[in-house]
């Protein structure tokens, strides 16, 4: 199998009007020669891939640029909201306010060394309105058409759930894959619970390329999230545990797959992840 997806989707553009019906003579126009259901292996999915050409957005606390584990950051923006709740986007030269965004960026860089990293900072401009800032940042990231958005965060605000759901669905149809941290607390939080995103929990193994598909959602994948040595502030590293570190592992894998199969839509990307998971396939 080759990069069929790239060729098939290349002719489409976001400006085209949606088709609400399918005339009989239009069937040939949407024929997809995907080659599935041939076996989907890791070699096919991301063998030799580097993440090149894939734009990964880190929606977090910022990124410390030129950290040895992160390298160059191709863009850094800070989001705030005005009194009307409208987003204000500005260039961000303040690096990382916490260390967490840098940690996520380092994990992704480690897996997909040639991907582009873009920081969209939604944390650290005052606590009030942080939910609105998160929503505004996500909306802006989707409008930019980033291929992958890493969201190692969630909100519990029910007021935001419907809006987040709409944003997640719109990302799904625009081929922006949202990779979101699940959490194990007995409270509803979003957006990881939505089926249009890829949700991630942690497993206990030390291999960054070990990942599991969970046949009992809502958490759909488990990736490395225990005692991960991650990039932290001022060039340092820190050993960290949490689903927020498992999430960038899956974001990195998505970047690899998309660099080999550009414009693969999120549902197929999710299928490729599932089919190449360590627990899927005949027992050896």
């Amino acid at each position: 199998m080759t990069n069929v997806a790239h060729d098939l989707y290349a002719h489409e553009s976001d400006e085209e009007l949606p088709a609400w019906s399918l005339p009989a003579d239009a069937v040939d126009g949407i024929r997809l020669d995907l080659g599935w259901p041939a076996e989907v292996t890791r070699e096919w999915a991301f063998g030799g891939a580097t993440g090149a050409g894939v734009r990964v957005c880190i929606l977090d606390s910022g990124i410390e640029a030129d950290h040895p584990l992160v390298g160059p950051v191709q863009g850094a923006f800070a989001i705030s909201v005005d009194d009307a709740g409208d987003a204000i986007v500005s260039d961000d030269d303040s690096g990382d306010r916490c260390g967490h965004g840098t940690a996520c960026a380092g994990v992704i860089r480690g897996l997909a060394p040639e991907c582009e990293l873009i920081s969209v900072r939604v944390l650290g401009e005052g606590y009030k309105g942080s939910g609105k800032v998160l929503l505004a940042g996500l909306r802006w990231a989707i409008e930019q058409g980033y291929d992958v958005v890493n969201m190692s965060l969630s909100t519990t605000k029910r007021d935001f759930a419907a809006l987040l759901h709409e944003l997640a669905d719109s990302a799904y149809f625009r081929r922006t894959v949202l990779v979101a941290s699940a959490h194990n607390m007995p409270v509803e939080s979003y957006p990881w619970r939505f089926s249009s995103v890829i949700s991630v929990g942690s497993h206990e193994e030390p291999d960054p390329f070990v990942y599991y598909y969970n046949p009992e959602p809502p958490v759909e994948f488990f990736a490395r999230g225990l005692e991960v040595d991650v990039a932290w502030l001022e060039g340092s590293t820190l050993r960290c545990t949490g689903n927020s570190f498992a999430t960038p592992h899956v974001s990195g894998l998505c970047a690899l797959i998309l660099s080999k199969h550009p414009r693969l839509p999120p549902f197929q990307l999710k299928s490729v992840l599932a089919l190449t998971s360590n627990n899927v396939g005949p027992v050896a």
Partner: protein, 213 residues
């Protein structure tokens, strides 16, 4: 006087005082500290108006005069956990100069490792539960993370009770004299020993009959 205000007054009158809620929180952090064999554990409450985190309960190292201390809600590990609703475990934060400085400034105790979980009640984040410096020689497991999350749930409920009580008391403090007297009546009645409670209730029933509209 509206029914609402009357109910609030009586309820506030018989609510447990701040000290009792604080002792519940203190017992939660003490148990968390013991279960994880940690050096310290603490609960921060979010003061939304001030955008600050306030130490509400502390067990172990540095616990002497921390309760009541504040720091900005959008900074540090606790701030990140609060904003993102995600639990976090960091080891050797000593290597993080920014964290060390903040922690030292606000607590006088610089931990090496920190486990922090958001305290979530319904759709609000009320604060953060932290466990500092679990033993280095044992490997951390995801089961511990689950355990910590369960504790956080308990702490969130306790914190919610504390906040409700404070709100009710604040409402009462601003109430007129009539309402405050009713609250005092409820409080006194609640505190009566059982042998005096019976006669007091009978007197109240008689009063109710006299003033019935």
């Amino acid at each position: 006087m509206s029914d609402d205000r009357f109910q609030t007054a009586v309820a506030a009158g018989v609510l447990a005082d701040d000290e009792l809620h604080r002792s519940l929180l203190a017992s939660i952090v003490e148990t968390a500290r013991a279960i994880f064999s940690a050096k310290a554990s603490s609960i921060f409450l979010l003061d939304e108006d001030a955008e600050e985190l306030v130490f509400e309960a502390v067990a172990g190292e540095g616990s002497d005069d921390l309760v009541g201390r504040r720091f900005p809600a959008d900074t540090g590990i606790a701030g990140w956990v609060l904003a993102t609703r995600q639990p976090l475990v960091l080891e050797d934060v000593e290597g993080d100069p920014r964290f060390g400085r903040e922690a030292a400034e606000s607590t006088g105790y610089v931990p090496k490792g920190i486990m922090a979980v958001p305290l979530l009640h319904e759709d609000t984040a009320l604060g953060v539960l932290s466990v500092l410096d679990r033993p280095k020689d044992t490997r951390f497991t995801l089961a511990e993370m689950d355990l910590l999350s369960r504790f956080a749930n308990q702490a969130a409920i306790a914190l919610d009770l504390l906040l409700r009580a404070r709100r009710a008391r604040a409402a009462l403090d601003n109430a007129d004299e009539e309402l405050q007297r009713l609250a005092q009546l409820g409080r006194n009645l609640d505190a009566l020993p059982s042998e005096r409670r019976g006669p007091a209730l009978r007197l109240l029933a008689a009063l109710e009959e006299i003033i019935r509209p």
